[in-house]
Symmetry: C2
Subunit: 454 residues, 2 copies
């Protein structure tokens, strides 16, 4: 055989435990109860999630056992392959060694099922019969719908209104799995009705949809909320990505000098990079980690590190994170998964401590890199993932300029088969670099909650 | 770990050779030159394909070596996984052991790249710079576009007019890979212009698009034709599916009593089943093979076994196959990959000899089975693949009735992420069981070419 392009692990090499970055990261600020302003306890969360997930959200234990039934379902597509992008390297004429960890082989086409399966399992065990959630472009909603189908749970998805109408096929995917999908803001919740009263034409946002989903979960004891990013337990579940990648780099007898992930709420970036950063913090093994975010929603590069709400109606705990303000409504980027006003507290703290280097990239550059990647490697990447590709390609070209061979790993978080309308716009020259809404950002930042001691 | 659900082979277990069913199948009728009526020689084909593929089309050698560069690209997604459908088994409460061989993990989402990569390789080696082809729903066109991108070949796709407009995203996928996609019939070919002169609103058919692609290849010495099904060498390349499955059944310490594949032109069915049938013919190891076709395009169950053309303009050799007549235009089934008037000569001969049992299934039954599968196994199947699922589920339910545990293998030829409009129609109750066009079939059968001795 020619040079190896794929590193596969056996089914029994799916990690036995999730890795909790909170165990190794010093100085993580606690989430606060929005009423009392005091650090959250697990009991504060159990109105909307099962005990086990509430515990995982707050624990600093390093390793959490992955339940057998979760590993059994993971086994359908995990361990996911690590690819060496040899054809892309040749196309770029670079001495860099480029690798990508591909999560698009899951039945929902992205990394999101890694936590959806886990959350559905714990909720089923706790006797819950329905999960409520929000979704933007639909990656998370379809992953949770999949998980609901596999565990026999009803799933109720509030989908950002503009995406609901622009991306009907993501909605159909959720319905194919048996879920119910409602455009948000809706008349089904107080939060939705209030917003519609003020603006009957509201196009919606992830923050609004989150408020609706949490309200439904709080009102109905048989319904829980399931979050697709930002929360500590979500990033915990995604750690299988990076843990597998470390084992695969062992097979390749290599180690990444640079790890790149795209970041919306942080679950893909954290899942990929935290196990590497953990090695760094414990053993001093250095890896440069870059978080790639859209220039139109520049949470890490231009937001403020402050306590803020995760949703518009201020139902969530206060999280210390990079935020553009919970009232910020990002432009309608095609990379819908990256349109969120905040960033996971774990990622934010790592950025603050210089462990993750944030970079904001314009949308058309990302699609250019995505097209280059598709034509060399064959896989059409999700628009979210093209942000990581853009940065990885730039680093590989820098290797060429400098005549240095570095090892670059990026996360290919999903395939783009649901996102071809964005490629159509790019190929047709009509895809714009939506500017960041400066006035909206200024106003939203000015309206950050006033939290004592921050 | 709980019971195994996935059987994976290592990269070095990708078969070293393709398996040629023509070596074992007795009494295969030769293709005939349409002008002379004499059996085809390789030289008759080299106007539209490279020598090596022309040889493969006509050879009866049992094993053809797979070139290294082809295996290197195969390695990106091959060996493909064999899954044990334990969750579906539980949902059906059946004693049957259900397995599926999943080809949707390829970058184009179906089994089609198995031959697209091989054809692109041989054409590149022969100095060809462009490939022309036809596509219906777009699975084949996008697979060839992928292969063209990887080998640096231009790709020109004639896409059936009705699909071109109804399925823009498949076209965008081809363009993302750098291919050019033209609605057929077009004004770019004599065949297209003649048809448009007679019917300016013609919705197109695979037979018409094939004529256009072949005409382009015949007129330009730097352009060759690449076929996505029907032809012997295409089925040869697809034999990796069944060969891998045999090795995987060895890992599972099982053997399929029943093998089911969906059949349009026959490449998926042949690729999956021929290696099993070869074992049967050589060693007497019995497997019942079922070919599932749509009731609206019932080539094997209601067509005639006769010499016919593969295209409307009668440019192809005469192939002895089950056919509804090359003038037959099937209704606009969502399973566009199964809308073809003919069936691969190798599959047709196997049906004639009782080695393959054909079954015609109505579309809504297929989607019902596809939905059941998606909710149990997580993977949303392509509409084509649901035909195989429908038959596999029916056989599994028969096992339950009879209290017998049989081993059932079906081919999951692709995922349905591009076909959610069909699921939307099914879920909305608007998906019809298009009836077979009886008058059209009668007329097309009456117009079969008059070939001496058939």
């Amino acid at each position: 055989m020619p040079d190896q392009i794929k590193y596969l692990l056996d089914e029994d090499q799916i990690p036995l435990t999730w890795y909790n970055f909170a165990a190794d990261l010093p100085g993580l600020a606690p989430a606060l109860h929005p009423g009392t302003g005091r650090p959250l306890s697990p009991g504060d969360l159990t109105a909307i999630m099962p005990d086990e997930l509430a515990k995982q959200e707050l624990t600093t234990e390093r390793e959490i056992e992955i339940p057998g039934p979760v590993r059994e379902i993971y086994a359908q597509w995990r361990p996911s392959p690590l690819f060496r992008a040899r054809r892309l390297e040749r196309a770029l004429d670079t001495p860099a060694r480029i690798y990508y960890k591909y999560e698009g082989g899951s039945p929902a086409g992205s990394h999101k099922p890694n936590t959806a399966i886990a959350q559905a399992y714990y909720n089923k065990e706790a006797g819950i019969t329905r999960l409520a959630t929000e979704t933007g472009a639909g990656q998370w909603g379809s992953a949770l719908s999949l998980a609901g189908a596999l565990f026999g749970l009803d799933v109720k998805v509030f989908m950002v209104n503009v995406s609901y109408h622009q991306k009907p096929y993501r909605r159909v995917l959720m319905e194919t799995y048996g879920a119910t999908c409602t455009p948000s803001p809706s008349r089904e919740t107080r939060a939705g009705r209030e917003i519609l009263a003020a603006d009957p034409e509201c196009s919606g946002s992830l923050g609004i949809a989150t408020s609706e989903a949490i309200e439904v979960a709080m009102d109905d004891p048989t319904t829980n909320y399931a979050g697709g990013s930002v929360l500590n337990h979500v990033l915990l579940h995604q750690s299988v990505i990076g843990q597998e990648a470390i084992a695969q780099f062992g097979m390749a007898e290599d180690w990444p000098d640079i790890v790149v992930g795209c970041a919306g709420g942080g679950s893909n970036l954290g899942g990929l990079s935290f196990p590497f950063l953990g090695e760094h913090l414990r053993d001093g093994r250095t890896t440069r980690v870059i978080g790639a975010e859209p220039a139109a929603c520049p949470t890490m590069t231009r937001g403020r590190l402050a306590y803020d709400f995760g949703d518009t109606a201020q139902l969530t705990p206060l999280l210390k994170m990079h935020t553009l303000g919970h009232g910020f409504i990002p432009p309608s980027l095609h990379a819908g998964g990256l349109r969120y006003h905040g960033m996971a507290p774990l990622v934010s703290a790592a950025v603050e401590q210089g462990l993750i280097e944030p970079v904001a990239v314009p949308q058309t550059d990302c699609f250019a890199a995505g097209l280059r990647f598709a034509r060399a490697e064959g896989i059409v990447p999700a628009p979210e993932s093209t942000h990581a590709i853009q940065v990885a390609v730039a680093e590989a070209l820098r290797c060429r300029e400098e005549g240095v061979s570095r090892s670059i790993l990026f996360g290919l978080s999903g395939h783009g088969h649901f996102d071809l309308s964005a490629y159509e716009a790019y190929l047709g020259g009509t895809l714009a670099n939506d500017p960041c809404d400066e006035d909206g950002m200024t106003a939203a930042l000015a309206a950050l909650p006033d939290v004592v001691g921050t």
